[in-house]
Symmetry: C2
Subunit: 404 residues, 2 copies
Amino acid sequence: MSKYHPLSEAEAIEIARSITEVFPTGEALVSREIGDGNLNLVFHIKQPATGRSLIIKQALPYAKVIGESWPLSLDRARIEGESLVKQGQLAPGLVPVVYRTDADMALTIMEDLSDHVIMRRGLIEGGTYPDFAEHLSEFLARTLFFTSDLGMNQQDKKVLLGRFINPDLCKITEDFIFNFPYYDAESNNIEPHLRDAAEAVWQDQELLLEAAKLREKFLTQAQALLHGDLHTGSIFITPTSTKVIDPEFAYYGPMGFDIGAPIANLLLHYASQEHWSPDEASRRDRRAYLLTTIVELWTRFERKFRALWDEHGTDRLLASPAFKDDYMKRLLRDTIGFAGAKTLRRVYGLAQVADIATIPDRAARERAQRLALNIARSLIVTNRAASSIEDLVRIAENAASGAN
Amino acid sequence: MSKYHPLSEAEAIEIARSITEVFPTGEALVSREIGDGNLNLVFHIKQPATGRSLIIKQALPYAKVIGESWPLSLDRARIEGESLVKQGQLAPGLVPVVYRTDADMALTIMEDLSDHVIMRRGLIEGGTYPDFAEHLSEFLARTLFFTSDLGMNQQDKKVLLGRFINPDLCKITEDFIFNFPYYDAESNNIEPHLRDAAEAVWQDQELLLEAAKLREKFLTQAQALLHGDLHTGSIFITPTSTKVIDPEFAYYGPMGFDIGAPIANLLLHYASQEHWSPDEASRRDRRAYLLTTIVELWTRFERKFRALWDEHGTDRLLASPAFKDDYMKRLLRDTIGFAGAKTLRRVYGLAQVADIATIPDRAARERAQRLALNIARSLIVTNRAASSIEDLVRIAENAASGAN
């Protein structure tokens, strides 16, 4: 394999056969291509005789979205493979095992997680995940701390940063999260009943200023190696297992962007209860579960991150209790701000979330959309005044009680 | 030249001969090695028959400071050459012309500026430089704006950032500016009469917290391609010409670090007037000139930077007047904070400045040191409350009137 080409299923099987830690015996393998074909090929390779399986993911040299196609660097496969390996070292058991990568062919060969469900799907189907906050807080605390200047040698960090310069995929985030939602961009997907709300955003100077500050942080603040796209569609889950997948957007950025992402998606699901919870009582219970999960996620994250800092902090000047308190306060604020930005773009941007977009009833969908937008706006404009994760809870509760 | 080795003078002449834009004719060349031998070889190559000349700078694979030697990446020569070329494109006439670079041999072949004087030396000798603020504000505004996300495509910026990852030299800055001065580090060079002042710094929790925040910014904030070491020893000057040299510390960092550096060195010179100005009246005049220069430097910088932003800003969301005002306010604060940090380390750190260190009278030297330290502390602890460059002026004036 000297040069890149998209794999055939026969080639995928041939490659899978060489992964002898998964397939030590020679029984036949079968392949099924399960990718959506927009960005990647995904081959599910199974050995029916033994029940063993693995996944081969291959990046395509372009992205297809609503019929359009633009070139996209294959280097994202190297970035995905290398960050999965790094995350696996730092947070064992919380990402798929990587068996092999091939940068030339843009391949990542990894653990099959078909026994898990994509968390977004699981939530829509009413699932609860009691270990999620514990697992994801562990993933976040360890991957963020140990790739930051707080937890690793500063020279090594600069070299690592150089491995994860990711212009193409960062550009997608920059445009779709921090640019297009804030004006009448062609790519926005605004339902007619939401037009007034979108136009209000474009006129909202307070909101635009805070969004610009978040954008600036996303562009310049090289705090830690991020997953970069940590929504509930990037999490495979069961009630007792959590696996973070698809880190092709990995780059050095502000930690709050990664912590805010799952929170935003829990809030979008919170808003979507306008439809998914059939009555007032179940809606209240479901929303309480979601807010408790958010509070637990942050609280456990903060506790773990501080404990890692106390035990493994590499920098003397950055080790004072006053600096730690100040840092964690700013990190909470960033988290709340980025959670808001990541919520807002899902309401009328190009890429929406199934939690809300699949609500069949227009009125219920609109209620969910407006609730999500209200929460998003409040998070963005108040983020730099927040002092506790309870501030976020209050915003969500107040918005929901206003919506009902 | 396939492999690195330190040049002999004969080899330097041989290489110089190939720079035909400087030496179009065949007359003899003579070489004089004028480096200090600690970090680089510097060959001054002259053609006596024509008066033409150039400089060949070659990085050595180690640094020598007070007898100790440690390895230092030769990649800094590539970084220096590439940043000189970049700065020359962005701010023509304000850096030496680069004729050729050779990364394998760690060479930069450039304009001879022997008709200029090192600004630190010129200031100590009582020079005034009426064009300095205009020139350096132009250099800062153009190099910082056009390498930031404000003034260039964000994808290209990420690629450029990757060319200027500079772990070895950043580590020197991190240690000597943001670490060693803040505890009883072996490398500090504390005169016995200053011991109490250094110990006070190490106990000063307010100061330590702000120093930690500045350190964090230096480590994480990839705002623009910095010169990285922009003190008055890195500026060649005449009354009508300013040339910024020696950008081997170049990396992507916070803009305020570059703007604060010349300001810190003007303030150190301000403090050193305890000796260099022979009487009260001349001291007052000299100090007024230095403060006026600082105010002009910032004011012209801000005006030019805003004008570039208005004309060439690449990012829609970051273009609002409110964001610009907020950004410039934060940039002023960073500038003041970094000016303080860069002043403090020169008082009792390893690398001091001739302005103060060469004052022969111990009592006058101590007055200058304590004045510099007082100014530095005030700048560091108040930086995040500053609203105008006049805040810095007041700090310097109040400290000086207390010192006399």
